[in-house]
Symmetry: C2
Subunit: 223 residues, 2 copies
């Protein structure tokens, strides 16, 4: 593990949350399903990203724009060594895993290219697809974080969603940096960021980036 | 009434919402009361404004800062001819009006300096304090808007909160411009902006201003 100079966390790598959210605070729309993994209207949260070369390239799609969001996306993954996600982000809700043949939303070459730890109640053997290994952790967020930190080898750990796992990390005071990509969309319902997090978390505004179709807000948590 | 060139609303003045909100989407904290008009923790939503000369001057307080928020605050009121607010913003919840002697939160010289229309279920004669007259409208938001437009004499109408009256205006599709002042605060509960507004409102991102202790986000509604 590397020790960054001036790091108030005794040399621990950072835990970062990075998530797209509607103006009314939802990270997915209502009625999520296999047909609508992000709920009704939820794909619109990511329109700003889908248009970018910086997003398309790791997803194996050609073309795309370079704009004010490019640097934000590049920074997001620059020093990240592992990602933690909920079961929904890996591959949907109850029933969709079936007999274990289901390998998630992300195809044969998932865009993560790093160790991924899936917080879930359902045990499952690790799953390797191309250069991404999904490890399923059934013992809660603190265990997932310990394993992700170890796998990240001194780099940062990204908590990538959905709302439930992000809210658990925020509520437990485990997040160092919070990046919100606010899409100009009202969803009116769905998976609500900050639900149950409460007033105990103190934020410090770090940076705002105004980009086409999105505003990027970055906060640090104050301990 | 003046008719602005190129105004898609047939020359009608704009209806603007302008409100401070926490990162988790509340415009007041939990447990609002006479002692805590903005709920527990809710005053922190306005710290960015309290520090400004542009806020202090109309409130009759000396001193204050000039920073990136100054222009935003000045623009907010520049072309506004009338304000609409809920009963809570005027003077608190049930019981606080008593026998009619209660004149609201705002003292002998309220900071509005324009006609104010208070949406309420409780009839009351108009109340003039210095150069602000509060008119109490018991027949709903559309009537309040019609009367505010008339009083504004071609200028814009500001919907100044609280959450309930703002959400009614948004849900009814009556808002042209939405300015959110996002304070780096989590309140964990309280009066939630966008509650019940639903997905029917389409937004267009207009501008973002990064200022000390606040981010100003401006959206237009698309009809």
């Amino acid at each position: 593990m590397s020790f960054a100079a001036g790091d108030g966390l005794s040399g621990m790598s950072k835990v970062k949350v990075d998530i797209s959210v509607s103006v009314d605070g939802y990270v997915a729309g209502p009625n999520q399903s296999v047909e609508h993994p992000l709920g009704e209207g939820g794909m619109a949260l990511h329109d700003w990203a889908f248009a970018l070369r910086a997003w398309r390239e790791p997803h194996g799609i050609e073309g795309g724009l370079v704009n004010a969001s490019t640097g934000v996306v590049e920074e997001t993954t620059a020093n990240v060594g592992a990602e933690i996600m909920g079961r929904g982000k890996f591959g949907g809700g109850p029933g969709s895993w079936g007999d274990g043949a289901w390998t998630g939303w992300w195809g044969d070459d998932p865009p993560f290219h790093m160790p991924v730890f899936v917080v879930t109640h359902h045990e499952r053997a690790p799953l390797t697809l191309s250069d991404t290994t999904f490890t399923f952790v059934t013992t809660g967020i603190e265990d997932a974080l310990a394993r992700a930190r170890e796998a990240a080898e001194g780099k940062d750990v990204l908590v990538g969603g959905g709302a439930d796992v992000v809210n658990q990390f925020l509520g437990a005071g485990l997040v160092d940096e919070l990046s919100l990509h606010v899409a100009p969309v009202l969803l009116g319902g769905g998976a609500r960021l900050f639900d149950g997090v409460g007033p105990g978390v103190v934020l410090e505004q770090v940076r705002t980036v105004d980009a086409p179709g999105v505003t990027h807000l970055t906060y640090r948590t104050v301990r």
